[in-house]
Symmetry: C2
Subunit: 259 residues, 2 copies
Protein backbone atom coordinates (compact mmCIF):
# COMPACT_ATOMS: atom_id res chain seq x y z
CA UNK A 1 0.00 0.00 0.00
CA UNK A 2 1.27 3.44 -0.85
CA UNK A 3 0.98 6.25 1.57
CA UNK A 4 -2.12 7.59 3.20
CA UNK A 5 -5.13 8.36 1.11
CA UNK A 6 -4.59 6.98 -2.29
CA UNK A 7 -4.84 3.49 -3.42
CA UNK A 8 -2.27 1.67 -5.22
CA UNK A 9 -0.01 4.15 -6.90
CA UNK A 10 3.56 3.85 -7.92
CA UNK A 11 5.23 6.24 -5.60
CA UNK A 12 8.27 7.07 -7.69
CA UNK A 13 6.24 7.74 -10.78
CA UNK A 14 3.80 9.85 -8.84
CA UNK A 15 6.66 11.87 -7.46
CA UNK A 16 8.36 12.26 -10.79
CA UNK A 17 5.21 13.70 -12.27
CA UNK A 18 4.79 15.95 -9.27
CA UNK A 19 8.22 17.34 -10.02
CA UNK A 20 7.25 18.07 -13.60
CA UNK A 21 4.09 19.72 -12.37
CA UNK A 22 6.14 22.04 -10.20
CA UNK A 23 7.08 23.86 -13.39
CA UNK A 24 4.36 26.30 -14.30
CA UNK A 25 4.06 29.59 -16.12
CA UNK A 26 6.18 31.94 -14.07
CA UNK A 27 8.08 29.06 -12.49
CA UNK A 28 10.18 27.97 -15.38
CA UNK A 29 13.46 27.31 -13.69
CA UNK A 30 13.92 25.31 -10.53
CA UNK A 31 16.85 23.87 -8.63
CA UNK A 32 16.67 20.66 -6.67
CA UNK A 33 16.40 22.52 -3.41
CA UNK A 34 13.41 24.50 -4.54
CA UNK A 35 11.77 21.46 -6.05
CA UNK A 36 12.25 19.64 -2.78
CA UNK A 37 10.65 22.49 -0.95
CA UNK A 38 7.70 22.80 -3.30
CA UNK A 39 6.97 19.11 -3.49
CA UNK A 40 7.83 18.21 0.07
CA UNK A 41 10.20 15.47 -1.07
CA UNK A 42 13.57 14.72 0.45
CA UNK A 43 16.55 16.39 -1.18
CA UNK A 44 18.22 13.11 -2.03
CA UNK A 45 15.05 11.83 -3.63
CA UNK A 46 14.63 14.92 -5.72
CA UNK A 47 18.22 14.76 -6.86
CA UNK A 48 17.78 11.22 -8.10
CA UNK A 49 14.42 11.80 -9.73
CA UNK A 50 15.56 14.91 -11.54
CA UNK A 51 18.50 12.94 -12.86
CA UNK A 52 16.13 10.37 -14.22
CA UNK A 53 13.89 13.00 -15.75
CA UNK A 54 16.96 14.51 -17.32
CA UNK A 55 17.96 11.13 -18.66
CA UNK A 56 14.59 10.51 -20.28
CA UNK A 57 14.56 13.96 -21.81
CA UNK A 58 11.80 15.56 -19.79
CA UNK A 59 14.07 18.10 -18.14
CA UNK A 60 17.15 19.95 -19.22
CA UNK A 61 19.65 21.66 -17.01
CA UNK A 62 20.76 25.20 -17.17
CA UNK A 63 24.49 25.38 -17.75
CA UNK A 64 24.97 26.90 -14.38
CA UNK A 65 24.03 23.40 -13.28
CA UNK A 66 21.98 24.86 -10.58
CA UNK A 67 18.59 24.52 -12.18
CA UNK A 68 16.35 22.53 -14.42
CA UNK A 69 13.68 23.48 -16.90
CA UNK A 70 11.16 21.53 -18.91
CA UNK A 71 12.69 20.06 -22.03
CA UNK A 72 11.28 20.24 -25.57
CA UNK A 73 10.16 16.63 -25.35
CA UNK A 74 7.11 17.67 -23.36
CA UNK A 75 5.88 19.48 -26.44
CA UNK A 76 5.60 16.19 -28.24
CA UNK A 77 3.17 14.89 -25.66
CA UNK A 78 1.03 17.92 -26.22
CA UNK A 79 1.20 17.52 -29.95
CA UNK A 80 0.23 13.87 -29.78
CA UNK A 81 -2.56 14.61 -27.34
CA UNK A 82 -4.10 17.30 -29.49
CA UNK A 83 -3.88 15.33 -32.70
CA UNK A 84 -5.28 12.29 -30.97
CA UNK A 85 -8.17 14.11 -29.37
CA UNK A 86 -11.47 12.77 -30.63
CA UNK A 87 -12.86 16.28 -30.53
CA UNK A 88 -10.34 18.96 -31.26
CA UNK A 89 -9.20 18.08 -34.77
CA UNK A 90 -12.78 17.60 -35.88
CA UNK A 91 -14.02 20.98 -34.80
CA UNK A 92 -10.92 23.17 -34.88
CA UNK A 93 -11.67 24.44 -38.40
CA UNK A 94 -15.16 25.45 -37.33
CA UNK A 95 -13.79 27.18 -34.27
CA UNK A 96 -11.24 29.07 -36.29
CA UNK A 97 -13.74 30.11 -38.88
CA UNK A 98 -16.16 31.29 -36.24
CA UNK A 99 -13.51 33.28 -34.41
CA UNK A 100 -12.79 35.15 -37.61
CA UNK A 101 -16.38 35.58 -38.64
CA UNK A 102 -17.71 36.77 -35.30
CA UNK A 103 -14.58 38.57 -34.23
CA UNK A 104 -14.43 36.82 -30.88
CA UNK A 105 -12.15 34.36 -29.17
CA UNK A 106 -13.25 30.77 -29.49
CA UNK A 107 -11.86 28.09 -27.21
CA UNK A 108 -12.17 24.46 -26.29
CA UNK A 109 -11.17 23.18 -22.87
CA UNK A 110 -11.24 20.10 -20.68
CA UNK A 111 -10.66 19.52 -17.01
CA UNK A 112 -7.46 18.70 -15.19
CA UNK A 113 -8.21 18.37 -11.54
CA UNK A 114 -9.72 21.64 -10.43
CA UNK A 115 -8.60 23.62 -13.45
CA UNK A 116 -9.80 23.88 -16.99
CA UNK A 117 -7.11 23.43 -19.62
CA UNK A 118 -7.49 24.92 -23.06
CA UNK A 119 -7.00 22.40 -25.83
CA UNK A 120 -7.17 25.28 -28.27
CA UNK A 121 -8.14 28.86 -28.32
CA UNK A 122 -8.48 30.91 -31.45
CA UNK A 123 -7.97 34.44 -30.42
CA UNK A 124 -9.44 37.20 -32.40
CA UNK A 125 -7.50 40.37 -32.48
CA UNK A 126 -8.32 43.43 -34.56
CA UNK A 127 -4.77 43.79 -35.84
CA UNK A 128 -4.04 40.85 -38.11
CA UNK A 129 -4.24 37.45 -36.55
CA UNK A 130 -2.19 38.11 -33.48
CA UNK A 131 -2.30 34.74 -31.97
CA UNK A 132 -1.02 34.10 -28.51
CA UNK A 133 -1.16 30.36 -28.49
CA UNK A 134 -2.84 29.39 -25.30
CA UNK A 135 -3.19 25.71 -25.74
CA UNK A 136 -2.37 24.36 -22.30
CA UNK A 137 -3.35 27.48 -20.43
CA UNK A 138 -5.21 26.87 -17.21
CA UNK A 139 -8.14 28.75 -15.76
CA UNK A 140 -9.96 28.07 -12.50
CA UNK A 141 -12.88 25.77 -12.91
CA UNK A 142 -15.20 27.44 -10.45
CA UNK A 143 -14.89 31.00 -11.69
CA UNK A 144 -15.16 30.58 -15.42
CA UNK A 145 -18.02 29.91 -17.78
CA UNK A 146 -15.88 27.14 -19.24
CA UNK A 147 -15.53 25.44 -15.88
CA UNK A 148 -19.15 25.82 -14.92
CA UNK A 149 -20.34 24.41 -18.22
CA UNK A 150 -18.08 21.46 -17.56
CA UNK A 151 -19.30 20.99 -14.02
CA UNK A 152 -22.87 21.19 -15.13
CA UNK A 153 -22.32 18.46 -17.69
CA UNK A 154 -20.79 16.12 -15.13
CA UNK A 155 -22.74 13.12 -13.87
CA UNK A 156 -24.49 13.96 -10.60
CA UNK A 157 -22.10 11.91 -8.57
CA UNK A 158 -18.89 13.46 -9.87
CA UNK A 159 -20.40 16.91 -9.88
CA UNK A 160 -21.03 16.58 -6.17
CA UNK A 161 -17.51 15.46 -5.56
CA UNK A 162 -16.02 18.32 -7.57
CA UNK A 163 -18.18 20.89 -5.86
CA UNK A 164 -17.15 19.42 -2.54
CA UNK A 165 -13.50 19.83 -3.39
CA UNK A 166 -14.04 23.41 -4.44
CA UNK A 167 -16.11 24.20 -1.37
CA UNK A 168 -13.32 22.98 0.81
CA UNK A 169 -10.59 24.78 -1.02
CA UNK A 170 -12.46 28.07 -1.10
CA UNK A 171 -14.24 27.74 2.17
CA UNK A 172 -13.98 31.44 2.78
CA UNK A 173 -15.86 32.61 -0.29
CA UNK A 174 -17.99 29.53 -0.72
CA UNK A 175 -21.47 30.82 0.10
CA UNK A 176 -21.33 33.53 -2.55
CA UNK A 177 -19.49 31.29 -4.96
CA UNK A 178 -21.98 28.50 -4.65
CA UNK A 179 -24.78 30.89 -5.41
CA UNK A 180 -22.94 32.09 -8.50
CA UNK A 181 -22.31 28.57 -9.66
CA UNK A 182 -25.92 27.60 -9.15
CA UNK A 183 -26.98 30.66 -11.11
CA UNK A 184 -24.75 29.53 -13.97
CA UNK A 185 -26.24 26.06 -13.74
CA UNK A 186 -29.69 27.58 -14.01
CA UNK A 187 -28.63 29.45 -17.13
CA UNK A 188 -27.23 26.29 -18.61
CA UNK A 189 -30.45 24.49 -17.81
CA UNK A 190 -32.59 27.18 -19.36
CA UNK A 191 -30.50 28.37 -22.29
CA UNK A 192 -27.87 25.74 -22.86
CA UNK A 193 -25.04 28.11 -22.04
CA UNK A 194 -23.86 30.40 -19.27
CA UNK A 195 -22.14 33.77 -19.24
CA UNK A 196 -19.52 34.90 -16.79
CA UNK A 197 -17.26 37.86 -16.40
CA UNK A 198 -14.38 36.61 -14.33
CA UNK A 199 -11.89 39.22 -15.32
CA UNK A 200 -12.73 42.88 -15.64
CA UNK A 201 -13.44 43.84 -19.20
CA UNK A 202 -13.79 40.29 -20.44
CA UNK A 203 -16.96 38.31 -20.78
CA UNK A 204 -17.33 34.72 -21.87
CA UNK A 205 -20.11 32.34 -22.70
CA UNK A 206 -19.62 28.60 -22.58
CA UNK A 207 -21.49 25.39 -23.29
CA UNK A 208 -20.61 21.76 -22.73
CA UNK A 209 -19.57 19.45 -25.51
CA UNK A 210 -20.45 15.86 -24.81
CA UNK A 211 -19.42 12.74 -26.60
CA UNK A 212 -20.85 9.33 -25.76
CA UNK A 213 -18.43 8.08 -23.17
CA UNK A 214 -15.86 10.80 -23.19
CA UNK A 215 -15.03 13.26 -20.43
CA UNK A 216 -17.06 16.43 -20.94
CA UNK A 217 -15.39 19.29 -22.73
CA UNK A 218 -16.49 22.89 -22.90
CA UNK A 219 -16.65 25.33 -25.77
CA UNK A 220 -16.49 29.03 -25.18
CA UNK A 221 -16.61 32.41 -26.83
CA UNK A 222 -15.18 35.48 -25.22
CA UNK A 223 -14.84 39.15 -25.97
CA UNK A 224 -13.06 42.06 -24.47
CA UNK A 225 -16.00 44.26 -23.66
CA UNK A 226 -17.57 46.02 -20.76
CA UNK A 227 -21.06 46.03 -22.11
CA UNK A 228 -23.66 44.81 -19.65
CA UNK A 229 -23.92 41.05 -19.52
CA UNK A 230 -27.53 40.78 -20.64
CA UNK A 231 -26.71 42.55 -23.88
CA UNK A 232 -23.72 40.35 -24.52
CA UNK A 233 -25.73 37.32 -23.61
CA UNK A 234 -28.21 38.07 -26.37
CA UNK A 235 -25.52 38.28 -29.02
CA UNK A 236 -22.92 35.76 -27.89
CA UNK A 237 -25.40 33.15 -26.72
CA UNK A 238 -26.96 32.38 -30.07
CA UNK A 239 -23.58 32.45 -31.78
CA UNK A 240 -22.24 29.91 -29.35
CA UNK A 241 -25.27 27.67 -29.58
CA UNK A 242 -25.07 27.78 -33.34
CA UNK A 243 -21.40 26.92 -33.34
CA UNK A 244 -21.98 24.21 -30.79
CA UNK A 245 -24.70 22.67 -32.91
CA UNK A 246 -22.45 22.57 -35.93
CA UNK A 247 -19.64 21.10 -33.88
CA UNK A 248 -21.84 18.33 -32.61
CA UNK A 249 -22.92 17.57 -36.16
CA UNK A 250 -19.32 17.50 -37.27
CA UNK A 251 -18.39 15.22 -34.41
CA UNK A 252 -21.14 12.78 -35.18
CA UNK A 253 -19.99 12.70 -38.76
CA UNK A 254 -16.38 12.17 -37.75
CA UNK A 255 -17.31 9.45 -35.32
CA UNK A 256 -19.25 7.18 -37.60
CA UNK A 257 -16.33 6.10 -39.72
CA UNK A 258 -14.60 4.59 -36.70
CA UNK A 259 -16.00 1.66 -34.87
Amino acid sequence: MARQGFSDQNRSLERGIAILRAFRPGVSELGNAEIAERTGLAKATVSRLTQTLLGVGMLERHPSRRSYRLAPAVLSFAHAMRLGSPILPAIAPLMRQEATRRRVNVGLAAADGDMMVYLESFRYSPRSSFRTVVSGQRVPIELTSLGRAYLWALPEREQRRELGVIAERRSRAWPQLEADIQASFAELEADGFCIVRWQPGVAAVAAPVLLPGLAPHALNMSVASSEPLPRLQRTLGPWLLDLNRRCVAELEASLLPEN
Copy 2:
Protein backbone atom coordinates in the same frame (compact mmCIF):
# COMPACT_ATOMS: atom_id res chain seq x y z
CA MET B 1 22.32 0.06 -10.12
CA ALA B 2 19.54 -0.03 -12.65
CA ARG B 3 19.67 -2.39 -15.54
CA GLN B 4 22.26 -2.57 -18.26
CA GLY B 5 23.46 0.57 -19.91
CA PHE B 6 22.37 3.53 -17.94
CA SER B 7 23.55 4.79 -14.67
CA ASP B 8 21.40 5.46 -11.79
CA GLN B 9 17.89 5.90 -12.98
CA ASN B 10 14.65 5.42 -11.20
CA ARG B 11 13.21 2.46 -12.99
CA SER B 12 9.54 3.11 -12.32
CA LEU B 13 9.75 6.70 -13.41
CA GLU B 14 11.67 5.76 -16.51
CA ARG B 15 9.02 3.22 -17.37
CA GLY B 16 6.17 5.56 -16.70
CA ILE B 17 7.62 8.10 -19.08
CA ALA B 18 8.23 5.38 -21.63
CA ILE B 19 4.54 4.61 -21.48
CA LEU B 20 3.64 8.22 -22.13
CA ARG B 21 6.07 8.27 -25.02
CA ALA B 22 4.29 5.33 -26.57
CA PHE B 23 1.52 7.75 -27.50
CA ARG B 24 2.42 9.52 -30.69
CA PRO B 25 0.65 11.11 -33.61
CA GLY B 26 -1.24 8.24 -35.16
CA VAL B 27 -1.06 6.19 -31.97
CA SER B 28 -3.48 8.06 -29.82
CA GLU B 29 -5.27 5.23 -28.12
CA LEU B 30 -3.60 2.28 -26.46
CA GLY B 31 -4.70 -0.53 -24.21
CA ASN B 32 -2.50 -2.06 -21.56
CA ALA B 33 -1.74 -5.05 -23.73
CA GLU B 34 -0.52 -2.94 -26.60
CA ILE B 35 1.47 -0.71 -24.30
CA ALA B 36 3.09 -3.77 -22.80
CA GLU B 37 3.98 -4.98 -26.25
CA ARG B 38 5.37 -1.65 -27.42
CA THR B 39 7.39 -0.96 -24.31
CA GLY B 40 8.43 -4.50 -23.54
CA LEU B 41 7.14 -4.24 -19.99
CA ALA B 42 5.26 -6.95 -18.14
CA LYS B 43 1.48 -6.76 -18.31
CA ALA B 44 1.10 -6.43 -14.58
CA THR B 45 3.61 -3.62 -14.48
CA VAL B 46 1.88 -1.73 -17.23
CA SER B 47 -1.47 -2.13 -15.54
CA ARG B 48 -0.15 -0.60 -12.35
CA LEU B 49 1.74 2.20 -14.03
CA THR B 50 -1.18 3.20 -16.22
CA GLN B 51 -3.32 3.35 -13.12
CA THR B 52 -0.85 5.70 -11.55
CA LEU B 53 -0.65 7.84 -14.67
CA LEU B 54 -4.41 7.94 -14.67
CA GLY B 55 -4.40 8.97 -11.04
CA VAL B 56 -2.01 11.84 -11.60
CA GLY B 57 -3.97 13.03 -14.60
CA MET B 58 -1.54 12.21 -17.37
CA LEU B 59 -3.79 9.63 -18.98
CA GLU B 60 -7.52 9.26 -19.35
CA ARG B 61 -9.42 6.14 -20.18
CA HIS B 62 -11.85 5.60 -22.94
CA PRO B 63 -15.22 4.63 -21.56
CA SER B 64 -14.93 1.25 -23.16
CA ARG B 65 -12.30 0.86 -20.44
CA ARG B 66 -10.15 -0.87 -22.87
CA SER B 67 -7.82 1.96 -23.72
CA TYR B 68 -6.03 5.04 -22.55
CA ARG B 69 -5.17 8.32 -24.20
CA LEU B 70 -3.06 11.28 -23.17
CA ALA B 71 -4.96 13.61 -20.87
CA PRO B 72 -5.24 17.39 -21.18
CA ALA B 73 -2.76 17.87 -18.36
CA VAL B 74 0.12 17.21 -20.73
CA LEU B 75 -0.81 20.41 -22.52
CA SER B 76 0.05 22.36 -19.41
CA PHE B 77 3.59 21.07 -19.47
CA ALA B 78 3.92 22.27 -23.03
CA HIS B 79 2.47 25.64 -22.17
CA ALA B 80 4.82 26.08 -19.23
CA MET B 81 7.78 24.94 -21.28
CA ARG B 82 7.11 27.37 -24.10
CA LEU B 83 6.46 30.33 -21.86
CA GLY B 84 9.53 29.50 -19.83
CA SER B 85 11.81 29.11 -22.80
CA PRO B 86 14.58 31.68 -22.72
CA ILE B 87 14.35 31.92 -26.48
CA LEU B 88 10.89 31.41 -27.86
CA PRO B 89 8.92 34.20 -26.21
CA ALA B 90 11.65 36.69 -27.03
CA ILE B 91 11.73 36.01 -30.73
CA ALA B 92 8.26 34.70 -31.50
CA PRO B 93 6.99 38.12 -32.56
CA LEU B 94 9.90 38.52 -34.98
CA MET B 95 9.27 35.06 -36.37
CA ARG B 96 5.60 35.76 -36.88
CA GLN B 97 6.22 39.08 -38.50
CA GLU B 98 8.78 37.58 -40.81
CA ALA B 99 6.51 34.72 -41.82
CA THR B 100 3.92 37.23 -42.88
CA ARG B 101 6.31 39.60 -44.57
CA ARG B 102 8.22 37.01 -46.55
CA ARG B 103 5.33 34.67 -47.08
CA VAL B 104 7.23 31.65 -45.81
CA ASN B 105 7.02 29.32 -42.85
CA VAL B 106 9.25 30.27 -39.98
CA GLY B 107 10.07 27.78 -37.26
CA LEU B 108 12.15 27.28 -34.17
CA ALA B 109 13.19 23.84 -32.98
CA ALA B 110 15.35 22.06 -30.45
CA ALA B 111 16.53 18.50 -30.10
CA ASP B 112 14.93 15.59 -28.31
CA GLY B 113 17.13 12.57 -28.72
CA ASP B 114 17.50 11.98 -32.42
CA MET B 115 14.59 14.15 -33.44
CA MET B 116 14.07 17.85 -33.73
CA VAL B 117 11.01 19.20 -31.97
CA TYR B 118 9.35 22.41 -33.11
CA LEU B 119 8.88 24.89 -30.31
CA GLU B 120 6.92 27.01 -32.71
CA SER B 121 6.24 27.26 -36.37
CA PHE B 122 4.46 30.12 -38.01
CA ARG B 123 3.01 28.77 -41.17
CA TYR B 124 2.36 31.02 -44.02
CA SER B 125 -0.54 30.09 -46.19
CA PRO B 126 -1.91 32.15 -49.06
CA ARG B 127 -5.52 31.84 -47.90
CA SER B 128 -5.84 33.73 -44.67
CA SER B 129 -3.69 32.58 -41.82
CA PHE B 130 -4.46 28.93 -41.94
CA ARG B 131 -2.39 27.77 -39.10
CA THR B 132 -1.84 24.14 -38.38
CA VAL B 133 -0.20 24.43 -35.03
CA VAL B 134 2.85 22.29 -35.13
CA SER B 135 4.45 23.05 -31.86
CA GLY B 136 5.65 19.68 -30.68
CA GLN B 137 5.93 18.18 -34.13
CA ARG B 138 9.00 16.02 -34.65
CA VAL B 139 11.22 15.78 -37.68
CA PRO B 140 14.28 13.59 -38.15
CA ILE B 141 17.47 15.28 -37.15
CA GLU B 142 19.67 13.88 -39.87
CA LEU B 143 17.49 14.67 -42.85
CA THR B 144 16.42 18.20 -42.14
CA SER B 145 18.13 21.54 -42.39
CA LEU B 146 16.90 22.17 -38.87
CA GLY B 147 18.61 19.09 -37.55
CA ARG B 148 21.83 19.66 -39.41
CA ALA B 149 22.09 23.24 -38.22
CA TYR B 150 21.66 21.88 -34.72
CA LEU B 151 24.26 19.18 -35.17
CA TRP B 152 26.68 21.63 -36.62
CA ALA B 153 26.34 23.90 -33.62
CA LEU B 154 27.00 21.09 -31.18
CA PRO B 155 30.32 20.92 -29.33
CA GLU B 156 32.71 18.61 -31.15
CA ARG B 157 32.35 15.91 -28.59
CA GLU B 158 28.58 15.69 -28.60
CA GLN B 159 28.44 16.09 -32.34
CA ARG B 160 30.54 12.98 -32.70
CA ARG B 161 28.32 11.08 -30.37
CA GLU B 162 25.17 12.12 -32.18
CA LEU B 163 26.59 11.29 -35.56
CA GLY B 164 27.64 7.95 -34.20
CA VAL B 165 24.11 7.20 -33.04
CA ILE B 166 22.70 8.17 -36.39
CA ALA B 167 25.30 6.17 -38.28
CA GLU B 168 24.34 3.12 -36.32
CA ARG B 169 20.63 3.56 -36.68
CA ARG B 170 20.80 4.20 -40.42
CA SER B 171 23.71 1.96 -41.18
CA ARG B 172 22.24 1.07 -44.54
CA ALA B 173 22.11 4.57 -45.98
CA TRP B 174 24.95 6.00 -43.96
CA PRO B 175 27.63 6.59 -46.59
CA GLN B 176 25.39 8.79 -48.71
CA LEU B 177 23.81 10.37 -45.69
CA GLU B 178 27.11 11.27 -44.14
CA ALA B 179 28.18 12.95 -47.34
CA ASP B 180 24.95 14.97 -47.37
CA ILE B 181 25.39 15.98 -43.78
CA GLN B 182 28.98 17.03 -44.36
CA ALA B 183 27.84 19.07 -47.34
CA SER B 184 25.34 20.84 -45.11
CA PHE B 185 28.06 21.44 -42.54
CA ALA B 186 30.19 23.00 -45.26
CA GLU B 187 27.33 25.30 -46.21
CA LEU B 188 26.88 26.28 -42.58
CA GLU B 189 30.57 26.95 -42.29
CA ALA B 190 30.65 29.06 -45.41
CA ASP B 191 27.30 30.83 -45.35
CA GLY B 192 25.93 30.45 -41.85
CA PHE B 193 22.96 28.40 -43.00
CA CYS B 194 22.17 25.26 -44.95
CA ILE B 195 19.42 24.34 -47.36
CA VAL B 196 17.75 20.97 -47.66
CA ARG B 197 14.85 19.52 -49.53
CA TRP B 198 13.79 16.55 -47.49
CA GLN B 199 10.30 16.26 -48.78
CA PRO B 200 9.38 16.70 -52.42
CA GLY B 201 8.18 20.19 -53.16
CA VAL B 202 9.41 21.66 -49.91
CA ALA B 203 12.70 23.37 -49.31
CA ALA B 204 14.01 24.71 -46.03
CA VAL B 205 16.94 26.75 -44.85
CA ALA B 206 18.10 26.66 -41.28
CA ALA B 207 20.66 28.25 -39.01
CA PRO B 208 21.61 27.61 -35.40
CA VAL B 209 20.59 29.87 -32.56
CA LEU B 210 23.04 29.82 -29.73
CA LEU B 211 22.73 31.19 -26.27
CA PRO B 212 25.59 31.23 -23.79
CA GLY B 213 25.15 27.94 -22.01
CA LEU B 214 21.90 26.77 -23.49
CA ALA B 215 21.33 23.77 -25.72
CA PRO B 216 21.54 24.87 -29.34
CA HIS B 217 18.30 25.66 -31.09
CA ALA B 218 17.69 26.02 -34.80
CA LEU B 219 15.71 28.57 -36.75
CA ASN B 220 14.32 27.75 -40.15
CA MET B 221 12.40 29.10 -43.08
CA SER B 222 10.63 26.86 -45.52
CA VAL B 223 8.56 27.20 -48.65
CA ALA B 224 6.51 24.92 -50.80
CA SER B 225 8.37 25.26 -54.05
CA SER B 226 10.10 23.13 -56.61
CA GLU B 227 12.44 25.80 -57.81
CA PRO B 228 16.05 24.69 -58.00
CA LEU B 229 17.83 24.90 -54.68
CA PRO B 230 20.49 27.40 -55.73
CA ARG B 231 17.82 29.93 -56.63
CA LEU B 232 15.98 29.43 -53.38
CA GLN B 233 19.22 29.58 -51.52
CA ARG B 234 19.88 33.06 -52.84
CA THR B 235 16.54 34.39 -51.69
CA LEU B 236 15.86 32.45 -48.50
CA GLY B 237 19.41 32.53 -47.23
CA PRO B 238 19.69 36.28 -46.75
CA TRP B 239 16.20 36.44 -45.30
CA LEU B 240 17.07 33.84 -42.74
CA LEU B 241 20.38 35.42 -41.84
CA ASP B 242 18.70 38.74 -41.43
CA LEU B 243 16.02 37.31 -39.21
CA ASN B 244 18.59 35.38 -37.25
CA ARG B 245 20.62 38.50 -36.68
CA ARG B 246 17.61 40.36 -35.36
CA CYS B 247 16.69 37.44 -33.16
CA VAL B 248 20.13 37.35 -31.62
CA ALA B 249 19.93 41.06 -30.95
CA GLU B 250 16.54 40.61 -29.35
CA LEU B 251 17.83 37.77 -27.23
CA GLU B 252 20.77 39.74 -25.99
CA ALA B 253 18.44 42.54 -25.06
CA SER B 254 16.07 40.19 -23.28
CA LEU B 255 18.89 38.52 -21.43
CA LEU B 256 20.50 41.52 -19.86
CA PRO B 257 17.65 42.33 -17.49
CA GLU B 258 17.98 38.96 -15.80
CA ASN B 259 20.97 37.97 -13.78
